[in-house]
Symmetry: C2
Subunit: 257 residues, 2 copies
DNA sequence: TTTCATTGTGTTGATATGACACAATGAATA
DNA sequence: TATTCATTGTGTCATATCAACACAATGAAA
């Protein structure tokens, strides 16, 4: 994959290396102190924050583009990334990030330049372990930070809409896809897993009913260990049964009709 | 929207009017004599059948492109079309329809022509009333026909994979989206609706349990009329309560967690 | 030693689901 | 005209699932 020396270089040569008109936006969710977070970038000299995004190299699978973008911002590899929607309104590019950003940076995008045209955006979402991530900014950004899902800043373009759609998808997927493997440490307690579910669903769940239901999926292994050094009763530790977890990822959890 | 006078014209001027690299493929399901059918095109001088597809005009919303393609093949308007996946492997275009088709037709696609490059494909599916459709071929096709889902012909490129993905999506959507409004006539009987579900799921359902469950969704209106002129006991007619049907389409049928 | 928030493990009643039975209908048949 | 019979309408029952709730066990903090 080609390297770009500067923004100007990117502007000039990007069109040769990227698919025109196609962009990827990643909604990267993290979980910390019982809050659902999302990773956002603050582009230089532009009002509002942006989802980590990018373009598709000519010879690259779009799933790999999403993985690459995720890795560039988080350093994480081999994370489950789910396609959730394609945003294809012709209006969404009117105040496109690129045009606005370059203009404010004093660079006018030449007529006919690859970045000046319309882009559709393919949305991917990921769930990552907050603790393992060191957010990394890119060249056109001045910050890359986690934001609480309930206290979001203003977002550029239609990125607010994209984020909400990802959140809705995540919530509905929760009923028929296992969740937690990349979000929680290797060993975790039942209350920790429950907090994750409550946070994603934004809803309080009954402790006992939750345990019964999640255990019925058969994707957890109860360990002999207990979490030590915590106040109150020591909770048992669990880990995911990876074989069953991945099978559930493929086949789903519900029985359907 | 521009008109194209010939295939050659399409080849030459299409690049000016369509988004490069982006295509739409529609999986159009129909229901007839208790069989689930899918509408396929037979491109001239090409081995294998193809899903109805097309490209996105520069100023066009991708949802409208899908509607337009659906309408061109079926004459139907205002049908629910659902995005289900984006197929974005760089390899899928290697033996692309366009290149192959034009070559066999004796026209070599010039180097750099818009149709010669890589395309991602956005998949949409629709459920339409078989009876209302008069399949219409396009310029590059010699046939447009319904095919039984269980007796499919060989398909070009990755269209077999696209079709299977659409079918899987349709089946899972069945548990939390109402289905049938565009597929059945205005008034229909309970057994007819059940056959539709059985056909989509490829599974036999219990008559009495089906009735109980489908009625519990509250999207049906039981009419005073009965179907006349049929052998055996006359079944009652039902129709969809459109307000509740559309609410269910938006909010889903399941309770979630 | 006592306190107390938290965890482990139940129970109960309401509801949903799967399996199944029987009477009613009405065109086809004798 | 009476009988047949596939099909429809409407149930029941046993079981599984789900929401709501209670109580004992734990172990750090007071």
């Amino acid at each position: 994959m080609p390297e770009f020396k500067s923004i100007k270089d990117y502007l000039e040569r990007g069109g040769k290396h990227f698919m025109p008109g196609v962009s990827i936006d990643c909604v990267i969710f993290g979980f910390h102190t019982n809050l659902l977070k999302v990773l956002l970038l603050k582009p230089k000299k532009v009002e509002g924050w942006a989802l980590p995004g990018g373009f598709v190299y000519n010879e690259e699978h779009i799933d790999n583009s999403a993985q690459r973008i995720l890795c560039e911002r988080t350093g994480l590899h081999d994370i489950f990334l789910g396609q959730f929607y394609v945003f294809g309104s012709p209006l969404r590019s009117e105040k496109s990030l690129s045009v606005e950003a370059f203009k404010k940076a004093g660079i006018d995008i030449p007529k006919g330049n690859w970045l000046g045209g319309r882009f559709i955006s393919i949305g991917y979402y990921a769930l990552v372990d907050f603790e393992n991530v060191i957010p990394a900014i890119d060249r056109i950004s001045e910050a890359c930070e986690w934001w609480d899902i309930h206290r979001l800043p203003a977002l550029i373009m239609d990125h607010g809409e994209i984020l909400q759609k990802a959140l809705m998808t995540l919530r509905t997927h929760l009923s028929y896809q296992p969740v937690g493997y990349n979000l929680l440490p290797q060993k975790f307690t039942m209350p920790e897993l429950q907090k994750l579910y409550e946070t994603i669903l934004d809803e309080k769940l009954d402790r006992r009913n939750f345990q019964r239901k999640i255990l019925s999926y058969g994707i957890l292994k109860k360990l002999k260990e207990q979490r030590k050094g915590v106040a109150h009763k020591a909770p048992f530790l669990y880990s995911f049964d990876l074989r069953k977890y991945h099978r559930a990822l493929k086949e789903g959890l519900q029985n359907g009709w």
